[in-house]
């Protein structure tokens, strides 16, 4: 009798990449729920649009590349990319923004480079940056938190705004974004940047209602949600703790130094942590294993670098938030960092690589 032949090891811990991806998707739930609570249906609609686009694009490219579709279409990676794009977009951006962004992310950034595991850049961030550079107007249609919006942004209103640019009642996006005082509202980061540019101190700036009682109305809770999801992922060992910790630490140190030097022109450390895409970037994007560094030392270096870049772009750059740019820059440097942070192999002397 002949037996079944297999190569060792014969056992496996039963983890699978799709499971990992699914876990990450679940972990975004607290943040997404906070987003929904403070900013309405906009992002959920975009997430839905992006996911549908992602599946269609993935299917098309996989069939063109003659890849096992059943295997790879539902590995969760495309859905995760779509989810992240949907989360990042301004809630009231037109529908084609998420469609184009996702198409770019899946087809060009991911599949044209060889599909899952071969893309040098994080697809979601590359897609987002492409949109930001190509459609600056639409990409800055940031909607203020619902509590500050005069128009009732229910599901149908949001949907029609995204699809047509006007609510059911006929309000335009600009009208929605205009406060009762007649001032167009932006994100806290944007407001701060504009005000600082106008010569106002941070203390004067945070009088603006978008900052709310703490750091940034709504945004702080969204970030807290992502922080919670991230801690869950670290607990589940789905992501390495080194990257987010070093990233947040780096951002903290940078903002702390400048805040200590000139509190008038610098935002607080906690404002940097809990506004914009800080937590999303730290736990969900920077930790993307494909585009990040693989060694622990490398992960720490990437995190530190990303924190510094985010801070620099936020304070000195042309854009209010710099997480996407910082992450792309880190993606570029990750292979080099990996090259120089190889661990010492057992039985080898240090430096004897």
């Amino acid at each position: 009798m002949a037996f079944w032949i297999a190569s060792s090891p014969h056992n496996h811990n039963h983890t699978k990449t799709p499971n990992l991806m699914r876990l990450v998707i679940y972990a975004t739930l607290p943040g997404v729920l906070a987003q929904w609570y403070f900013f309405g249906w906009g992002n959920l609609i975009h997430i839905g649009l992006a996911m549908a686009t992602a599946l269609v694009c993935e299917f098309t490219v996989l069939s063109l590349r003659k890849k096992p579709i059943s295997h790879e279409l539902f590995d969760g990676s495309a859905l995760l990319t779509a989810l992240l794009i949907g989360i990042c977009l301004p809630a009231l951006a037109p529908w084609w923004i998420s469609v184009i962004g996702t198409m770019f992310a899946i087809v060009i950034v991911k599949q044209l480079y060889g599909g899952l595991g071969h893309n040098p850049f994080n697809p979601a961030m590359a897609g987002y940056v492409m949109l930001l550079v190509s459609f600056p107007l639409q990409m800055t249609l940031w909607q203020p938190p619902l509590t500050l919006v005069a128009v009732d942004l229910n599901f149908s209103n949001t949907l029609t705004t995204i699809l047509t640019g006007f609510t059911v009642e006929g309000y335009s996006v600009e009208q929605i974004r205009t406060s009762i005082d007649g001032i167009t509202m932006a994100t806290p980061l944007d407001t701060l940047k504009t005000n600082t540019g106008l010569g106002l101190t941070v203390f004067e700036s945070i009088e603006n209602p978008v900052f709310g009682n703490n750091f940034a109305l709504g945004w702080e809770w969204i970030n807290a949600g992502f922080l919670l999801g991230g801690i869950f992922l670290i607990f589940k060992k789905a992501i390495a703790w080194q990257t987010p910790v070093s990233f947040l630490l780096s951002l903290f140190i940078c903002s702390f130094i400048s805040y200590s030097l000139s509190p008038d022109s610098s935002a607080s450390t906690m404002f940097h942590w809990f506004s914009g895409a800080t937590m999303l970037g730290a736990f969900f994007i920077l930790t993307d294993p494909v585009t990040g560094a693989t060694s622990n030392k490398g992960r720490i270096i990437v995190g530190l670098l990303a924190g510094l870049l985010v801070y620099l772009i936020r304070t000195a750059g042309g854009y209010p938030d710099g997480v996407a740019f910082a992450i792309l820059l880190c993606n570029m440097s990750a292979p080099l960092i990996d090259q120089y942070t190889r661990p010492r192999t057992y039985g080898h002397l240090k430096g004897d690589k």
Partner: protein, 770 residues
């Protein structure tokens, strides 16, 4: 330093190694059941080689009846480990059979038909260890065929006879692989025997400390060993945390001592020796009870078995016997894997007849529920997402994901840089890989290919050295040959200048040739009034013996006379150069042959001479008669036939000579017709031959000179467009020189013909050939 390590160990503090995993242990399946004694199987299949090294020399043959414990092979080399008959019986076959190998290789095995008597050979029980010297103990270990029983199978007697200062003797009872409890049970049931074995090792190696390492998931074994070693100060029982692969040699050394074994070196270099507990047991058996290694504890386990348990298996027991004994129930499943060894590093065996060997510690028959990945036919491998979980668990701190890229790309230099050779095949990386990449499999292939490449490189290097040596040798030989040739030439020259009969003969030939040259020169000068004195080897003429001069001069006179006649006749006859040259094409070789045959018969010289004379007379007549070109052609053909005939028959030399003479006559006629062209040609030829280029490609590419003398003659003949008669005349006058002159004549003829051809072609290409 050693003391601080011991302090730490006594406190129960250990170092940790990088990575490691915690797969489901599943040791409960067998850990609580005693080791079962099995009935004797019907047949044992005993592979000759069960260790790392070489198989021993066969001591038995088919049909032999052997007793239990009798040696079947003999180790004549340290790397040869003998095997023994595990029970009494008859050897039924010695043939290739599938062995315990990942690739299902076959190897020479002894098939032992068990007689059921289980009769021991005579044994010498050693009552007191003190009576034995170390070398006697080592000899006993060597004779008992003990090889490392932890898995590697390294000959134990080599490991225990190493001399340097040993700091630590580590007894490996970690047994980190899931499922396996063989060492655990052995320590539980035979702790005293194991400790006795350790004492023997202590006697041999004299280590500073003995550390018995046992993972903390074997509380009973720990207790048993602790009790057995309670009154021995030197032995420390180290309870190490359970983590796979803590039982790996390098990992265990790191756990216990904090030291790393440098890459490419052995633990012995750091003063550490490690032995498996089962080996200790076997050493005790061998030294004290004179029992060779014929059985071992094997864990037969897995949820596909009804009664998984540890058994005492005789070496050579086919695994189907073990499975029957443990009530296998799911084996009808076509895809049922049967794993020899643990789930992490074991290999699936291809046949149920694979026998238990010295290194087999476990037979694992998992059910599909407990180990689904072992049943998968197609790899579920998906793309690596560089999650890095593999490098987190790698005990060698490698980067498995990068190794994987390079292994797939066959980038062997990069694999070297990434230290693939430090991979211990533990399988932790593949175990955790979420993309289900069979990483170890890729590394094995890459390692095998690198090894193959290295062997090829080594071969190529050797071949290169061999080639260089050969080149050098050939060069030397060539130089030596040239030297020899030079000497020979010098000797020949010297011999020619001596007055011996042979020398005179040789000289006379040369003289004859020179005479011919002179004659020709003279005649040419007359006929064409051209001042084309050829640069003949005049210097050689000074060597000519004086006594032959008269003969030569006579020949010259005759030749001159003939030449004049012919020249007149030829002027009248318009030669059909084309047809003649065509018919003559095949002649030179044949004539050459005839010429070479001629030397064999020396007694017919007179007849030949007569024939030649006749031929000459005829020639003269013919050359004057034949004026029509067609007639000449016909004549040529008939002559050719004659020549061919002559070639085949040795006794018809005369005719050959006649034919030759005739051919010459014709040639001369033709040559005359093309006198001008030929003349120019001959000058050229002469110059080149005078330079020493005897094989001048311009004129005589297809004529080969059989001897030095012939060559010298050729030099003369080349310039001789008219006649070779003088040479024949010369040969007549000198009997000893006859053969040579004939050869010369043949060569001369061939040349003449060639020239003829060339002359005809010159008409077309004029000076091109020159």
């Amino acid at each position: 330093m050693v003391e601080s390590i011991i302090e730490r160990i006594t406190r129960g503090h250990f170092w940790d190694f990088h990575g490691g995993i915690h797969p489901p242990e599943q040791k409960f399946l067998t850990a609580s059941k005693p080791i079962k004694q099995l009935t004797l199987p019907k047949q044992l299949i005993i592979p000759l080689q069960q260790h790392i090294g070489r198989e021993g020399d066969l001591l038995v043959s088919i049909g032999d009846h052997v007793l239990k414990g009798q040696a079947l092979t003999l180790g004549t080399n340290p790397m040869m480990v003998p095997i023994h008959a595990p029970t009494s019986g008859t050897i039924s076959a010695i043939k290739l059979s599938v062995i315990a190998h990942p690739s299902g290789l076959s190897q020479l095995c002894i098939f032992l038909d068990v007689d059921g008597e289980d009769t021991w050979r005579k044994r010498d029980i050693c009552p007191d260890l003190g009576l034995l010297s170390n070398s006697e103990i080592i000899e006993k270990i060597s004779d008992a065929g003990i090889a490392g029983m932890g898995g590697a199978g390294f000959p134990t007697h080599i490991k225990v006879s190493s001399k340097p200062d040993i700091n630590f003797l580590i007894i490996n009872g970690a047994e980190c692989e899931p499922y396996i409890t063989a060492d655990d049970l052995l320590m539980m049931e035979h702790s005293d025997a194991v400790v006795d074995g350790i004492k023997i090792l202590d006697k041999l190696l004299k280590p500073a400390f003995i550390l018995v390492a046992i993972e903390d998931n074997k509380p009973k074994a720990i207790k048993a060993i602790q009790q057995a070693t309670a009154n021995i100060e030197k032995i420390k029982v180290c309870v190490v945390p359970t983590k796979y692969p803590a039982g790996g040699e390098k990992q265990l050394i790191q756990i216990l001592t904090g030291q790393e074994v440098a890459s490419g070196r052995l633990p012995i270099h750091s003063g550490i020796v490690m032995q498996n507990v089962a080996t200790c047991f076997a050493i005790n058996e061998a030294v004290r009870h004179d029992t060779p290694l014929i059985r071992r504890v094997v864990t037969v386990t897995g949820q596909a078995l009804d009664k998984p348990q540890n058994v005492w298996a005789l070496l050579g027991t086919p695994i189907n016997f073990l499975l029957e004994q443990c009530h296998v129930h799911a084996i009808e499943n076509q895809k049922q894997p049967v794993i020899m060894g643990g789930p992490m590093m074991g290999f699936s065996v291809s046949s149920e007849l694979v026998p238990i060997v010295k290194t087999s510690n476990c037979i694992l028959v998992p059910s599909k529920v407990e180990m689904p990945s072992a049943f998968e036919k197609e790899s579920k491998e998906v793309e690596c997402i560089r999650c890095g979980q593999c490098s987190d668990v790698c005990p060698s701190q490698l980067l498995p994901q990068e190794l994987q890229w390079s292994a797939k790309a066959k980038d062997y230099s990069q694999l070297e840089k990434l230290n693939l050779r430090d991979c211990i095949d533990c399988g932790a990386c593949a175990y955790v890989c979420p993309s289900q990449i069979p990483l170890v499999h890729y590394y094995r292939i890459a390692k095998a290919e690198i090894r193959e490449q290295q062997q090829l490189d080594l071969k190529a290097e050797k071949a290169k050295v061999r080639f260089e040596a050969r080149k050098l040798r050939l060069e030397k030989e060539k130089i030596a040959r040239q030297e020899k040739h030079k000497k020979a030439a010098a000797a020949r020259k010297a011999a020619m200048n001596k007055a011996t009969p042979e020398a005179t003969g040789a000289k006379s030939a040369v003289a004859a040739a020179l005479a011919r040259v002179k004659a020709k020169k003279a005649s040419q000068g007359l006929a064409q009034n051209r001042d084309n004195t050829p640069t003949s080897p005049a210097d050689l003429s000074t060597d000519i013996a004086d006594d032959q001069k008269s003969q030569v001069s006579a020949a010259i006179a005759r030749a001159k006379a003939k030449k004049k006649l012919k020249a007149e006749a030829a002027n009248k006859a318009p030669s059909s150069s084309e047809s003649v040259s065509e018919t003559l094409k095949s002649k030179p070789e044949k004539e050459q042959e005839a010429a070479t045959q001629q030397p064999s018969v020396g007694d017919k010289k007179a007849k030949i001479a007569a024939a030649i004379a006749k031929a000459k007379a005829k020639k003269l007549a013919k050359s004057t008669e034949i004026t029509e070109s067609d007639k000449a052609t016909v004549n040529c053909i008939s002559e050719k036939a004659v020549v061919e005939k002559a070639v085949n028959t040795d006794d018809k030399k005369a005719r050959v000579a006649a034919a030759i003479a005739k051919a010459k006559a014709k040639n001369k006629a033709l040559a005359k017709a093309n006198a001008k062209a030929v003349d120019e040609q001959s000058i050229e030829t002469n110059e080149s031959s005078a330079d020493g280029n005897s094989n001048s490609t311009k004129t005589d590419g297809n004529s080969s000179q059989p001897s030095q003398v012939a060559q010298e003659n050729t030099v003369a003949n080349k310039t001789d467009n008219i006649s070779s008669n003088p040479s024949l005349a010369g040969s007549k006058s000198n009997a000893a020189m006859d053969k040579k002159s004939k050869i010369a004549a043949a060569i001369a003829k061939a040349k003449a013909k060639k020239k003829l051809k060339e002359a005809s072609s010159i008409e077309k290409t004029d000076q091109d050939s020159v």
